[in-house]
């Protein structure tokens, strides 16, 4: 632990990693309970189009990812309004984003090495711009969830009742999907587009197995996500492994341990 903190890149990786872990796991509890976990996967793939555009046209790829994800959120929303089922809307956007990304990559001559870091994550190579972006957007997401906590809880539990009781459910859903999009973008450098859903879903599901109340489930998900990131980063630093994959494998290990423990308790 001391060794990794002795390096600037290690400090940046830990700082951004912990913040991304907190954001992903908090949002993840809501997403899993709303049965919308795959929306993060869909938006992750949509972001590839923006990243590829950034690499091809020479602007910072994460800005491209933000633009693509926002377009994706409004696209999913528009398709839902046209009565396309939610999962089909995600699948259409997912395919369109991925296809556009692949076409743009094929048009770029020297994109492959850079793109690999976005596909699989490379947090140990994270720069100051990435850290500031993760800090700013991560705090914005957490602050919004804190301020709208009771509304998001009500909409997650029973959107129909929330609507009857007078809450602006459609607007809250849109805000929530935008928060998901932002979280996906700041997670790309940590675990990569292909593994972004894992850090959102696995800590949330592990925490739910502990059968706590809502606030303690959120705290447990946060703790599991932070633990996965810290242990995963240290393991990838000391054993020279891919950071994104290692972090996800640690979180899967924690999930397996919690699951086994909960089964033993049930007997």
């Amino acid at each position: 632990m001391i060794d990794i903190l002795a390096y600037g890149f290690g400090q940046r990786a830990l700082l951004a990693g912990v913040l991304v872990a907190l954001t992903c796991s908090t949002l993840g509890v809501f997403l899993v309970l709303k049965r919308q976990s795959l929306i993060s996967d869909g938006l992750g793939h949509v972001s590839l189009a923006g990243i590829a555009a950034g690499v091809l046209f020479g602007f910072y790829p994460i800005y491209g990812a933000i633009a693509a994800v926002f377009a994706g959120v409004f696209g999913i929303n528009a398709l839902r309004k046209l009565r396309i089922p939610g999962d089909a809307a995600i699948a259409i956007l997912f395919s369109a984003g991925l296809a556009l990304g692949v076409v743009l990559i094929s048009a770029s001559k020297y994109a492959s090495a850079d793109l690999l870091s976005y596909l699989f994550g490379a947090i140990l190579g994270i720069g100051y711009t990435d850290v500031y972006l993760a800090l700013g957007l991560g705090f914005a997401v957490m602050a919004t969830i804190y301020v709208l906590f009771k509304e998001l809880f009500a909409v997650t539990f029973d959107p129909e009742f929330a609507r009857v009781s007078g809450l602006p459910v459609e607007r809250l859903e849109l805000v929530f999907t935008l928060l998901t999009g932002i979280t996906v973008v700041i997670s790309i450098k940590l675990v990569g587009i292909l593994l972004v859903t894992s850090l959102i879903v696995i800590p949330a599901v592990s925490a739910m197995l502990l059968r706590l109340d809502f606030k303690n489930t959120l705290l447990a998900a946060n703790a599991i996500a932070v633990l996965s990131v810290v242990i995963g980063l240290m393991a990838s630093f000391y054993y020279d492994l891919a950071s994104g994959g290692t972090i996800v494998l640690v979180s899967v290990g924690i999930f397996a341990a919690v699951l086994a423990n909960s089964r033993i308790w049930q007997r």
């Binding site: 309970l33 009771k150 809880f153 009500a154 009742f161 009857v164 009781s165 809502f214 489930t217």
Partner: protein
């Protein structure tokens, strides 16, 4: 009791061109318990959704006249109990959501709101289970928790859509006792949708029988045995079957009379 609370004037509604409700007019009064019955597909849930503002009528008007015109309705959906078995929320968390619309976006629950939640939880007999996870409750207890959530904002109308589905006989009896007690204590009107005509006859002040349009709107004591039988038949058979049966019976009776001459 006689003050009007909610009025529907000539309300029609269609889903994708298929008419579900046709020229429905009815009135609910403060403090009364009204039963809404009708066969599957009669438009009962659609009618409730129009009342609570989840749908807008194609034609006609829905007018809330209680408490200076403000819509003040507690609602229990027929799907309320279909919740994720892992949902990490306590009874108190869920009952509190009944106040969120009232305190508004960004508003916080104050001490008096927390007392109101506590009193709603106690009113439905779940005082000891406030910190229990909602998914750990039995079907009857969960139903009570949802009634507390609908009650907590002190509505002038409580709408319950098939609330006894999945509840055993003793639970059903308990439920009707609870509704009668809450109606007396809080004075709100109750609209109860049920397939159980017998229970509605026994526990409501008025029964509205719907099949795309209002067929009957009467006090249980005023229902003739013929109308009651018709309601029971409508629940088991499509409209055409009942009409064919009636026609057949009339022919048979006419034949018997002619034979007797």
């Amino acid at each position: 009791m006689n003050e009007p609370l909610l009025k529907l004037n000539g309300v029609s509604f269609s889903y994708d061109g298929k008419q579900v409700l046709r020229n429905v007019s009815l009135e609910l009064k403060c403090g009364e318990i009204v039963g809404l019955a009708g066969p599957n597909g009669a438009g009962k849930t659609t009618l409730l959704k129009l009342m609570i503002g989840l749908l807008r009528p194609d034609r006609g008007r829905v007018e809330f006249t209680g408490r200076a015109g403000a819509r003040s309705i507690g609602y229990l959906s027929q799907h309320a109990q279909r919740i994720d078995a892992n949902f990490p929320a306590t009874v108190r968390d869920i009952v509190s959501t009944g106040l969120y619309g009232k305190i508004g976006v960004l508003g916080r629950l104050g001490a008096s709101d927390k007392d109101t939640v506590e009193s709603a939880v106690r009113a439905v007999g779940l005082g000891r289970l406030g910190e229990e996870r909602i998914t750990e409750l039995s079907g009857g207890q969960m139903q009570r928790a949802f009634i507390a959530r609908a009650l907590v904002s002190n509505p002038s109308l409580l709408i319950l859509d098939e609330p006894t589905t999945g509840v055993d006989l003793s639970g059903e009896e308990e439920f009707y006792k609870l509704i009668t007690r809450l109606n007396k204590r809080y004075g709100m009107a109750v609209m109860l949708v049920s397939h159980d005509i017998y229970a509605l006859v026994e526990h409501t002040d008025r029964i509205i029988f719907l099949n795309k349009e209002v067929l009957y709107d009467e006090k249980p004591s005023g229902l003739s045995s013929g109308k009651l039988l018709k309601m029971l038949f409508y629940h088991k058979h499509p409209k055409g079957t009942v009409e064919r049966l009636e026609k057949g019976m009339r022919l048979k009776m006419a034949g018997a009379q002619e034979g007797g001459k």
